[in-house]
């Protein structure tokens, strides 16, 4: 598949190299970064919402942190929806309608996600059951070996043998 501005790692490396070189070439070149958006309140809400969303192009990045072009477009959409007085829930629904639950970092509780939510607890319960069974068997085995302990006669003989072995002539 083709994604414009794929994942930015390489580009960022290249750009930072360029920046370093540029600084050497023209030390007075640095400039204040222009503010991202005109409206700080809108921007804050946009970042809060897009932090909850996955970028579909670079799937290990959040929508707020991704430089992929689609992420930029989607942030633009979110900004516009905020300006149009949409609620957070409406914006979330907009995204889920188009890209599915996959865009959400916190999947909703649904019939299809029950295993996702409770699977770990199921595994934990299974492990506890296995542990209990193992411990019971082990103590039964220990009881058994206790029963087959030596009689008083045998013990005497064993001690005698050990003493002999302990004092070799």
């Amino acid at each position: 598949m083709s994604y414009r501005n794929r994942c930015w790692t390489q580009r960022i490396l290249f750009l930072s190299l360029l920046l370093v070189l540029a600084n050497f070439a023209a030390p007075g070149w640095a400039k204040e970064a222009a503010p991202m958006a005109e409206d700080e309140v809108v921007e804050k809400r946009m970042v809060a919402i897009s932090d909850e969303l996955r970028c579909l192009v670079c799937q290990n990045e959040s929508l707020s942190g991704s430089h992929a072009e689609l992420a930029q477009d989607l942030r633009r959409e979110i900004r516009e929806m905020i300006k149009a007085d949409k609620s957070d829930q409406q914006i979330m629904d907009f995204m889920v309608d188009r890209y599915g639950d996959f865009v959400r970092y916190r999947p909703p509780m649904k019939a299809t996600t029950v295993l996702l939510w409770f699977g770990p607890f199921l595994l934990l319960a299974a492990a506890v059951v296995a542990l209990i069974v193992y411990l019971r068997r082990r103590s039964a085995r220990l009881d058994l070996s206790a029963q087959s302990a030596l009689t008083a006669d045998e013990k005497k003989r064993a001690e005698a043998l050990l003493q002999q072995a302990g004092n070799p002539r």
Binding site: M1, S2, Y3, R4, L56, V57, Q59, E69, L70, D73, L74, E77, V96, D97, R98, Y99, G100, D101, F102
Partner: protein, 176 residues
């Protein structure tokens, strides 16, 4: 001996499951929530004739394909010969959605490689792409007579995907 065989068996089962997932499942393929839902409406100027518009509503009563493409998209080139051949066969009408492209680039691309589309809608700002849940070009939608999306091919249309999935589905939908 048994003590060693059990962990080994568990390990092998894990290897098989993980190996299967690694080879056969593509984490980039996100299931589209739009399947089984009406294709989002739009009314966009056509790429070649900006004064004419294209809207999915005009395709009611027909089974058709909507292919999202762009001149900057590398994999689109890969699928392009398949689409050209499909359009020559005339089995199913193929429309394009020229996604986030410059008009001149899109037109040049079609002139250079051939134009398999009945028409291409020109989605310059990518808004229609967002409505269709496009996240990686190319993507291809199969839309039925009632205007419902029945299938989405993510990534290039391969001859196998065409033979095994898209064309049989088109045939089935045309019967109904």
């Amino acid at each position: 001996m048994k003590r060693f065989l059990i962990p080994l068996a568990i390990f092998l089962v894990l290897v098989v499951i993980l190996g299967y997932a690694l080879i056969n499942l593509d984490p980039r393929e996100v299931p589209s929530p739009l399947i089984g839902k009406p294709a989002p409406a739009f009314d966009l100027p056509q790429l070649a004739q900006p004064e004419q518009k294209f809207s999915p509503a005009s395709m009611r009563g027909k089974v058709w394909l909507l292919n999202v493409w762009a001149s900057w998209c590398v994999s689109c080139r890969e699928e392009h010969p398949v689409l050209v051949q499909l359009s020559r066969s005339g089995v199913v009408p193929l429309y394009g959605l020229n996604y986030k492209d410059a008009r001149t680039d899109g037109l040049r691309w079609l002139a250079q490689f051939g134009d398999p589309y009945v028409a291409s809608a020109f989605d310059n700002d990518g808004r229609v792409g967002i409505d269709y849940g496009v996240y990686g070009v190319p993507e291809t939608y199969v839309i039925d007579k009632a205007g419902v999306i029945r299938y989405k091919q993510i990534g290039p249309v391969t001859p196998e995907a065409l033979e095994k999935k898209i064309l049989p589905l088109v045939k089935e939908l045309e019967k109904s």
